[in-house]
Amino acid sequence: MTDSIILVEDLDHVYMKNTPLEHQALYSVNMTVARGECVAIIGHTGSGKSTLIQHLNGLQRPQKGRVVIDGLDLSQRKLDVRALRRKVGLVFQNPEDQIFEKLVGDDIAYGPLKQGLSIKEVTERAKWAMEVVGLSFADMKDRETFALSGGEKRKVALAGVLALRPEILVLDEPTAGLDPCSRKDLLERIRYLNQSENLTVVFVSHNMEEVAYLAHRVYVMANGRVVCEGTPRHVFGNADILHKYHIGMPETVEILHRLKRKGYAVNPEAYEVQETVQEILSILPAAGR
C-alpha cells in the first residue's frame, strides 16, 4: 500500500537478549495503517501490544524487520529521531503521572517551548490543544494540576502531546481508570481528532466497547504475534478467536455468543446494544409477546 503512513514488516523483538531472562516479545509482526485511519490493537496482557507501539515513535528500534513511519525508516542508523517524534505523539498509560508543572497551561506548553517555538506560537498551540480536548483555555490554563480530577488530568496530558501537532497519535489504554462519563467524553474527542483533524490514530485497549466505538480496524495480538485482523464486527463475530486468545468481549457479544451456542439463531456480529435487543426480540416465542 502506497498511502500507508505506518508500515511494520516482519518485526521481531527480544528483551534481555543473551541473558537467562531472554524473552521474545514480537514474532514477525506485520501491520499497516493508512493515513487518517483509526486502528485498535487488542490482546491479553503480555501479548506484545506495548512493545509494538513503542516502535512507532522510536522508543524501540527494530532488531529484525522494518518499521517505516511516513517515509522515515527506523532501521536506519542515522534516523532523525526528533523528526520522528514530531510526527508521532505517544500517550502512555496513565499519562497524568507525567504531569510535572504546577499550572495546567505550563504543562501543556512545555513540549512546544522545548521545540524552540515563539511564545506566540506556543500559546496558540496550547490554546488549540486545550480546546480540542475540551478544556477551556481561559478557565483552565492557570489551574493547579494537582487539584484536577482524573479525567481532567488525562485531558491535560493528551493536550500536552497534541500541542506538538503530531500527525499520528498513539495511545496506550486511553480511557483506563476513567469513569464512564469522562471515558465517553474523551472517546468523542479522540474520534473528532481522527475524523475532523485528520489525525491518524493507533490505540491499545482492552475495553471492547471503546474498540467498537472508535476503530476502523482491529489487530488482535497474542504471544507476540498478530493472530487476527479486521473490522470490529468481523473480530467480535468470531467467538473462537475471542476465546482462544483471551480477549474480553462486550457484554452484548457475550450474550449473543451464549445464545448462539444454545442453538438460537442470532447474529453475534450485532454488538451494539440496540442491535442485540433486536436479535433477542427476533428469537423470543411469539406467544410471550
Partner: protein
C-alpha cells in the same frame, strides 16, 4: 473490644476537604454517614471527583475526618495509638499494581507487612503460604514480581493484605488498570473471600463489578445520593445518567426487551440472567401449549 453485632465500620457525619495553597479548602466529603456490616460486600460508585476514593481512604485511617468520626471495630481512626490495629483490621488495595509492590521476590513482598509487625518466622512462613494460596499465586512465590501481569501483581498485593488477616479488604479501583481477564481473576478471588466471611468494600467504575455486591452506595459531590441492591439501583437508569454513571449493558438490554415484550423481565443485571430469561420464556411457552 468490639461487639460482634456492631457494624465493622461506622462512618458518622464525616466531612473532609483538601487544603489548597492559598488556604482555601476544596470540600470533598460533606457530612457522610453509613455503616459497613460484618461480612458485607459493598460497592461504592460515583464519577471521577465525586469523593469515593477519599471516602475509601477514611476506612482504615489513611485519612482522618476533619469533622465527624470513623469507627473501625469500635476503634476511632483519629486515635493515633490505634492506627496499627486499625490497619491490621482493614487492608487496602490501590489502583496501580506497581506502586504497591516493594520486594524483588513475590513471597518477600507478601511477608513485608508481617515483618513490620514482628511476626515470628515460623508463623510468617505459614501465613505467607496461605495468603498466596488464597489468591492462586503460590506457584509464583519465587518469581520476581515485575515480570508478572497486572492482574497477577494485584493478586500479590491482595495476598500481602490477606497475610495480615484483616476482617475487611477495601479495593480502591483495584481492577481499573487490568484487562477483562485480570479483572475476572480478582473478582473470583473476592467472591471466594466473601463466601469465607470477609467483609469487602470496592470502589469501582465498572458496573459489571457492582453486580457482585450485596449493596451499592452512589456518591455525588461528596454526598451519598443513592443506596440499595445493585438490582434496585440499576433500575434507575435516568437518575444514574444524571449522575454521569452507566448501567451494565445486560441491564440496558433487559429493560429494552421488557418494554417491547412485558413478559421478559426488565430487572436483569447479568449476562447469564439475560440468556436464562430467553430460555425461560421458551420453556414457559412450551408449558402453556402443553409441550
Amino acid at each position: 473490644m468490639s461487639d460482634e453485632r456492631e457494624p465493622l465500620i461506622r462512618v458518622e457525619h464525616v466531612s473532609f476537604g483538601y487544603t489548597m495553597n492559598d488556604k482555601r479548602t476544596l470540600p470533598v466529603l460533606r457530612d457522610i454517614s453509613f455503616e459497613v456490616r460484618r461480612g458485607e460486600y459493598l460497592a461504592i460508585i460515583g464519577h471521577n471527583g465525586s469523593g469515593k476514593s477519599t471516602l475509601a481512604k477514611h476506612l482504615n485511617g489513611l485519612l482522618v475526618p476533619q469533622q465527624g468520626n470513623v469507627w473501625v471495630a469500635g476503634m476511632n481512626t483519629k486515635d493515633k495509638g490505634l492506627r496499627k490495629e486499625i490497619r491490621k483490621c482493614v487492608g487496602m488495595v490501590f489502583q496501580h499494581p506497581d506502586n504497591q509492590i516493594v520486594a524483588t521476590i513475590v513471597e518477600d513482598d507478601v511477608a513485608f507487612g508481617l515483618e513490620n509487625i514482628g511476626v515470628p518466622a515460623d508463623e510468617m512462613r505459614q501465613r505467607v503460604d496461605e495468603a498466596l494460596q488464597m489468591v492462586g499465586m503460590f506457584a509464583f512465590r519465587h518469581r520476581p514480581p515485575h515480570h508478572l501481569s497486572g492482574g497477577q501483581k494485584q493478586r500479590i498485593a491482595i495476598s500481602g493484605i490477606l497475610a495480615m488477616r484483616p476482617a475487611c479488604i477495601v479495593l480502591d479501583e483495584a481492577t481499573s488498570m487490568l484487562d477483562s481477564y485480570g479483572r475476572q481473576d480478582i473478582l473470583r478471588v473476592m467472591r471466594a473471600l466473601h463466601q469465607q466471611g470477609m467483609t469487602i468494600v470496592t470502589v469501582t467504575h465498572h458496573m459489571s463489578e457492582v453486580v457482585e455486591a450485596d449493596r451499592v452506595i452512589v456518591m455525588e459531590a461528596g454526598r451519598i445520593v443513592m443506596e440499595g441492591t445493585p438490582r434496585d439501583v440499576f433500575q434507575q437508569q435516568e437518575r444514574l445518567h444524571e449522575l454521569q454513571l452507566d448501567i451494565p449493558d445486560a441491564s440496558r438490554i433487559s429493560q429494552a426487551v421488557h418494554r417491547v415484550v412485558p413478559a421478559f423481565s426488565g430487572t436483569l443485571i447479568r449476562t447469564d440472567e439475560v440468556v436464562e430469561e430467553v430460555e425461560n420464556m421458551h420453556l414457559r411457552t412450551l408449558e402453556v401449549h402443553g409441550g
